[in-house]
């Protein structure tokens, strides 16, 4: 009887896939089904919110590991698995193995994809050999490999349907971000901001892998797909050569602006939203000008890549505050009016709320009080510096000069938040943000460029803000007012993606390896469990066989594994290092495990 039902079910699913006009319809249906987790971001809007509520504030204290799976890889495990129907799709860091696991059979492996990649791509990955995950559409699983191969695999068999190379690792380009499927296109970006790679966001045809459009982060308008009249920043047309006019000579050709973060999508507006990373080099003196359009929030038309609006958050970056973090789309009321919003927690320490239809700036406030490189973002519409951060001269590494050690800048280059994505709950209308609470000394100096070699040019030294010992906080943020509602301190930076649920619980993971559950309203800790290794992955949830599961990848690494493994030291302040802070290596070692939690079976 059961086999028959299963067959009908599978048949029905097949019919559904065939019946969709676009991948959008299929994905819209899938993301509306809380039992599944069909996108790496949970949904197009990147809210990381689930309607599941079997696990709630009254019983989350009783959850326990239900099953586990080891990926066989021992490097930093970013991202999260997908669950589509009865199958979980799981990815790994380099070599980027992909597993299809049978949820009806305790995670038995249905198929495995093991790409053969040249190991020489490893040394051009700045921040460990991470990968942020898979996407699904039209019966295919999509992976962006470290070597910039974008591959589509048959979801049933794992066979390669199509494969395309979108970058050149010998010039420093690599792949780490999760491709996203919007409409009939696979949207993907590229990594390499520390290697002078002039980066881009691109679209590939879902069915064939043929390139459709590519919009660069800097260069002439024909490359960036910016229109001098139609593209606006803060309501004003950007004018001709808006990018190249802000670089000296040919510097834009090795300009960076990498697109390795998360991408969100509004199907009604037909816009894809994402951020661009730091300009190359880390030495600002070597690239005079605002360096557009690095460090920007972008809104591009999904069909053509044409830029509708753009907003540069950190003009002429002097601190490596990449703008690539997730753009969370919400519909909320501000001053009694319904607004279509975009909320973004930038590396630079400011939480931005914009109108996603036209890029109007509504809120820009510090989401960590320690942020000190700028006093504020100028919100005066009539001001010459409207929308720009007002930089504190003592914290300006350019102002202080090359070969001068600029001290006590907060946040450190790893930002108040790095790629680890926040979550949003429509129940509380709050954002749940994993943050870093670390400051730095930064000394720029002259460097020369060689294709495929790091193009950095600054000495970095990191430590917690003076007088404090916690290197992270997990906070709740009101995006309408730009205020921190509650803040839970953590010993280490919080480097996992958060998950919010209708059960009123918010989940996140810590670098020591704890999966934690807190009350969405108050932040009170309701549960914690130490998984096999430090967590830099993103918590996700799904339902199977009537039980709600919460899953998290453990496997310490990423930028956190580089900067924090040995522990930080106190600000030197001319006295030499006096002592160390907690070292991550005292709490955890390498790992690569998925732990899946549930309430005890009835």
């Amino acid at each position: 009887m059961r086999k028959y039902l299963l067959a009908t079910c599978m048949g029905a699913v097949a019919l559904f896939s065939a019946g969709y006009a676009t991948a959008n319809e299929e994905l819209a249906k899938l993301q509306a089904d809380a039992k599944q987790w069909a996108l790496p971001t949970g949904n197009f809007a990147n809210t990381r919110y689930s309607e599941l509520k079997q696990i709630d504030t009254t019983n989350v204290g009783k959850i326990a590991p239900a099953w586990t799976f080891s990926t066989g890889v021992l490097r930093g495990h970013e991202g999260a698995p997908l669950v589509i129907g009865d199958v979980m799709y799981l990815h790994a860091p380099f070599p980027n193995t992909v597993f299809a696991l049978d949820l009806n059979n305790d995670g038995k492996i249905l198929w495995k994809y093991e790409p053969k990649q040249d190991p020489n791509v490893i040394p051009v990955m700045c921040c460990d050999t991470v990968n942020r995950g898979l996407s699904y559409a039209d019966g295919k699983i999509f992976l962006h490999q470290a070597d910039t191969t974008l591959v589509a695999l048959d979801a049933k068999s794992g066979a390669v349907v199509w494969s395309v190379k979108d970058g050149d690792p010998s010039k420093g380009a690599t792949g780490t971000s999760a491709p996203m499927i919007f409409k009939d296109k696979v949207i993907v970006g590229v990594s390499g901001g520390e290697f002078g790679v002039r980066s881009w966001l691109g679209a590939y045809d879902l069915k064939t892998g043929k390139p459709v459009w590519r919009g660069y982060s800097m260069g002439p308008d024909s490359d960036t797909l910016v229109d001098p009249v139609k593209t606006t920043q803060l309501g004003k047309p950007v004018g001709p050569d808006s990018s190249t006019s802000t670089w000296q000579g040919d510097q834009w050709k090795i300009g960076g602006g990498a697109t390795w973060g998360w991408y969100s999508y509004d199907p009604d507006l037909n816009l894809v939203y994402y951020g661009s990373g730091n300009p190359s080099t880390w030495n600002p003196k070597q690239r005079p000008g605002d360096n557009r359009w690095s460090m920007a929030v972008w809104a591009r038309d999904v069909d053509t890549g044409a830029v509708k609006w753009v907003y540069q958050m950190t003009p002429h970056d002097e601190w490596d505050y990449d703008g690539v973090n997730e753009m969370i789309l919400t519909d909320q009321k501000i001053d009694g009016k319904d607004r279509k919003l975009l909320t973004h927690f930038d590396r630079n320490g400011f939480g931005y709320t914009l109108d996603r239809t036209n890029g109007e700036l509504l809120v820009a406030e510090k989401y960590d009080p320690a942020v000190n490189w700028a006093t504020k973002v100028d919100m005066d519409k009539s001001s010459k510096t409207y929308g720009r951060p007002l930089v504190v001269p003592a914290m300006s590494t350019e102002h202080n000069g090359e070969d001068v050690n600029s001290k006590g800048i907060c946040p450190a280059a790893l930002g108040t938040k790095d790629e680890q994505p926040a979550a949003y709950s429509p129940q509380t209308e709050l954002f749940y943000v994993p943050t870093n609470h670390v400051c730095m000394d930064y000394e720029p100096f002259k460097v020369s460029y060689t294709a495929g070699q790091p193009y950095v040019g600054a000495t970095l030294s990191m430590y917690p803000p003076p007088g404090q010992t916690n290197m992270g906080n997990f906070i709740a943020w009101d995006g309408k007012t730009g205020k921190i509602v509650w803040s839970d301190p953590e010993q280490f930076s919080v480097w996992s993606g958060a998950l919010a649920t209708a059960g009123g619980v918010v989940f996140y993971g810590t670098l020591e390896g704890y999966l934690k559950a807190v009350d969405a309203k108050t932040g009170k800790e309701l549960y914690k469990f130490k998984t096999p290794s430090g967590i830099i992955g993103n918590v996700m949830t799904y339902e199977h066989g009537g039980r709600q599961y919460v899953a998290i990848l453990s496997g310490v690494g990423g930028w956190a594994g580089i900067g924090l493994a040995a522990g930080l030291t106190k600000a030197t302040d001319g006295l030499g290092a006096v002592g160390g802070y907690a070292a991550l290596s005292n709490y955890t070692a390498l790992g690569g495990t998925l732990t899946v939690f549930a309430l005890p079976a009835m």
């Binding site: 021992l74 490097r75 070599p95 490893i122 051009v124 921040c127 060689t450 310490v556 040995a566 106190k570």
Partner: protein, 173 residues
């Protein structure tokens, strides 16, 4: 591809000595016996550091601290302390000597155990590293003997007169 070819040629040429013996040549006594305008050498003629009783480091150790934290920190962690995947060079330099260190940086290194592949690039063509390699070596050598603590050296000797000209020549202006 010429970049990789020259790196290999250079790597073979410079790394020949330590690779002849299959065991690591330990660095030996770090005491400075010669001072060549701020560049200190040990009795084997290898670059070494000089740290005064009050903690003042020589210029090249200071330069090495800065260059290490720009070019090597990104994998090997702060202060030569290591990361989750790259070794702590303050420990490595207890057992490998100057020639072997030089050879590894020039030619790179691969350690391909399944599931934890570690690859260090060849830096031969990278002036930002090669022009300061001795500086980086003496900084790490001082760390390996705990002659200096973690963090930015608080005091350093003045920049030697020959430094700027040599830097410009190497970096190509």
């Amino acid at each position: 591809m010429t970049m990789i070819k020259s790196a290999i040629v250079l790597g073979v040429a410079l790394a020949f000595v330590p690779f002849v013996g299959l065991h690591a040549e330990p660095p030996g006594d770090p005491a400075a016996v010669k001072n060549d305008d701020g560049k200190y050498r040990d009795k084997n003629g290898d670059p070494t550091y000089k740290v005064s009783p009050d903690g003042t480091v020589d210029w090249y150790v200071y330069s090495g601290f800065r260059r290490y934290h720009s070019e090597c920190h990104v994998c090997h962690g702060p202060d030569g302390e290591g990361s989750t995947y790259a070794p702590a060079l303050k420990n490595s330099l207890k057992t490998i000597g100057y020639a072997e260190f030089y050879g590894i940086v020039v030619s790179g290194k691969q350690d391909l155990s399944a599931g934890n592949e570690k690859v260090m690039p060849a830096f031969a063509e990278n002036k930002n590293v090669m022009c300061y390699l001795d500086d980086i070596y003496v900084y790490l050598r001082a760390r390996s003997n705990e002659a200096i603590p973690r963090g930015r050296p608080a005091k350093h000797e003045d920049k030697p007169g020959t430094f700027d000209a040599a830097q410009d020549k190497c970096m190509g202006g």
